[in-house]
Amino acid sequence: MTAAATPAPGTNPDGSPRVHYLNAAYGLKSWLLTRDHKRIALLYLVSVSVFFALGGLMAVLIRMELVTPAGDLFQPDIYNRLFTMHGVLMIFFFLIPGIPAVLGNFLIPLMIGAKDLAFPRINLLSWYLYSIGGAFTLWALLHGGVDTGWTFYTPLSTNYVTTSVITVGVGIFIAGFSSILTGLNFVVTIHRMRAPGLTWFRLPLFVWSHYATALIQILGTPVVAIAILLVAAERTLHVGVFDPKLGGDPVLFQHLFWFYSHPAVYIMILPSMGVVSELIATFARKPIFGYKFVAFASIGIAVLGFLVWGHHMFVAGQSIYAGVVFSVLSMLVAVPSAIKVFNWTATLYKGSISWDTPMLYALGFIGLFTIGGLTGVMLATLGIDAHVHDTYFIIAHFHYIMVGGAIMGYLGGLHFWWPKITGRLYPAFWSRLSALVIFIGFNVTFFPQFILGYLGMPRRYHSYPPEFQVLNVMSSAGATILGLGYLMPLVYFIWSMRYGPKAPANPWGATGLEWQTTSPPPVENFKTQPVVTAPPYTYPAPTPSPGVALGD
């Protein structure tokens, strides 16, 4: 902050403006009818956190059941509902909206120097759709939930179970629209709303990865929407597109489902990669090694991600030759991911590395994502997948990607931008400790599951042979540590909102337009239109310009 001897009109003594987006208006209505992307991001933050907590609670119950081999805590039906709802809530209501709708929503206009997203009302609509979809799902949960597995495989989901499949299907369908609208808003915004001078290759990598994510949201979601619609039609209308008894093919459902749901994995991980790119550059204080490679790797992952869905169906009765094609294409997806990991590592070389909390999360991400990605390569190998398909190996693999990858990135991002979002700082010691506890807890929980999987323990088993107990107990113990780790940020973030020290505009010394404005930003983000003249991550970072931040 430029030190002003006497505070300018409308500013606090420390130079920050008195009115920002958080205190510009008060009351429930000012939040529920807001069109400010920053407030909508906070609405999303609250709602995805609720779903994360619910999904996490179910995870705890699942791990409790699996402490003993006998399946003695819950009835099998209850257990089946628990893991189904855990998957549905975590995937459709936490991981997919998570980073894009919270951090992306908040940051993309700030990062590209725009006043808002292109369609603010649609942005609000997408939050309402998300909430309505969530309400349907919670309503179904209160009425017993669903026991089909989050994958809704036919004909189990269409003709055999009696639970609220349609209600949850409608919930996911509506939440899917919300996801589409978010992606649409991002694409248009990034194309049309960039600040003067902000060329494509001056965009932060966070924006690149959100662009890639948005492509998947737009192109993939409609196909799963129609697949869910067909499941609902089969349950109500005597339509048999997937029903072998009526001449249909149940494997077709799997094709339509995974056409979206495999790329959906990249909806979860790509934004997280974007966050990590920002964190590594900021805390090593140097440009990302091979910026263009990393940027194009995001697009490459998004596009290739659409060509590999059949690797979920190697043993599902798919043609062996189609399996071969899907296998080799899946190998290709690993290349852009490897490029990213190597480039992040190389960025650290000759950096000026600080050990702040967000950086610890980012490094945790790199380690866990590497293991998750490399085990993914094993699963893309036909001969190995034939054995570990639908075992705990795959559970471990995708939790390394989604929890070790996506959630580590999400938390890293939250810690990084929290001062910008709330204008407050959080305690450094506790936050570093939380990163460490989560990293340890995560590995203790999920590493044993790789071994369990290779030993042959199938997923979605309520009871299991006794020789698997040792590793299961280990995993459940780790889950306790992990749960504790997740509670810590919840506590100190809430604490910081009231008691945390005030954050300066640029606490980390980062580049990027979002750090040029005040913390928290004013309603229209910048007082004057920022102009970009340099590539991203040009250090040392410019001091926040009073012209942009304060308009004087």
Binding site: P76, P250, K286, F289, G317, Y349, K350, M378, T381, L455
Partner: protein
């Protein structure tokens, strides 16, 4: 009863051994690369830690002309290793899925929540599969309701059991023992209880076991009985006045259809022709056969299919047999 080692599952077939070898290759790649990344990250973290508040990093990318080479190197090396993994994995997968011609034929019917198994000689068992060691065993599998999955970790292969068509599982056990059989595809409430054992026995012990059990008629014999009981033989008879195609020797041939296309006469086609006779009518015949959907169970279908499969071409009727 079930031997177990702490970190590796039982290995009870040659294919299982080749899967393990493949896994060791993949695993060494994993260990190498994750160790490499972890060590580099930790070393850089310490070596290049920030020493003063305003210190900035040194951009080595733009200044070093070899940066692009580096990018290409760390794209091409992983790609090469991945393609090796792909090729090897594909070879193993074909081994896992292509049964030898001399395999013994068993039948598996999955239903919520049990495995029904029939031996070549007609003996049946539930959730248990007894096989002789050293013989290739082929399972022809179908589900009566939802999708199940036949999974024996000791043989390192899953195969889904579909309600719409037959799938094939094969193994050649190379040691005796009792191994887990799991349902590997979530199939509803009691999914985790849809488990059983594969018991691999010495051939002589297997013979003795079979002899000690009550044996029913073989699948072919049951199929023949059904063929008469369901009056299939009134139309499908080996004489010139038949209103339906002669079935002797058709299995494995290409049948011409009324719409001009051809279809391979295999298990799926015979099953479909019983359930939905009008879907693919052989050239020159009318779609007059009634459907048997709901009148024969999947197990009876298996017996009928096997009976038709067993009918060898009779030398006197070659002129009438559809090609």
């Amino acid at each position: 009863m079930i031997p177990s080692s702490p970190l590796l599952p039982d290995q009870a077939s040659d294919v299982a051994r080749s899967v393990d070898h493949l896994m060791i290759y993949a695993l060494s790649g994993l260990v190498f690369f994750s160790a490499l990344i972890a060590i580099l990250v930790l070393v850089f973290m310490v070596k290049y830690r920030r020493r003063s508040a305003d210190q900035v990093g040194i951009d080595v990318y733009e200044t070093n002309p070899k940066s692009h080479v580096l990018e290409i190197v760390w794209s091409v090396i992983p790609l090469t290793l991945l393609l090796i993994l792909f090729g090897w994995g594909t070879k193993v997968f074909f081994d896992q899925n292509r049964p030898p011609a001399d395999a013994m034929q068993y039948w598996v019917t999955g239903r919520q929540w049990m495995w029904k198994i029939q031996h070549p000689d007609g003996h049946r068992e539930i959730n248990e599969l007894h096989v002789p060691v050293g013989r290739a065993v082929r399972l022809r599998m179908i589900s009566e309701d939802v999708i199940h999955d036949f999974f024996v970790p000791a043989f390192r292969i899953h195969v889904d059991v579909l309600p719409s068509r037959y799938t094939t599982y094969w193994f050649k056990a190379n040691r005796t023992g009792t191994f887990h059989l799991f349902c590997g595809q979530y199939c509803g409430t009691e999914h985790s209880r849809m488990v059983g054992h594969v018991v691999v026995m010495e051939p002589r012990a297997y013979e003795a076991w079979l002899a000690g059990e009550k044996t029913g008629p073989s699948a072919v014999a049951s199929g023949e009985e059904l063929f008469v009981a369901k009056s299939c033989n009134t139309c499908h008879r080996p004489d010139s006045s038949a209103r339906a195609p002669i079935l002797n020797g058709v299995f494995g041939t290409q049948a011409s259809l009324n719409d001009g296309t051809k279809v391979l006469v295999n298990e799926d086609y015979i099953r479909e022709s019983i359930l939905n006779p009008a879907a693919k009518v052989v050239f020159g015949y009318q779609p007059i056969m009634p459907t048997f959907k709901g009148q024969v169970s999947e197990e009876e279908l298996i017996q009928l299919v096997d009976y038709v499969k067993s009918l060898k071409a009779a030398p006197t009727t070659t002129a009438e047999a559809p090609q």
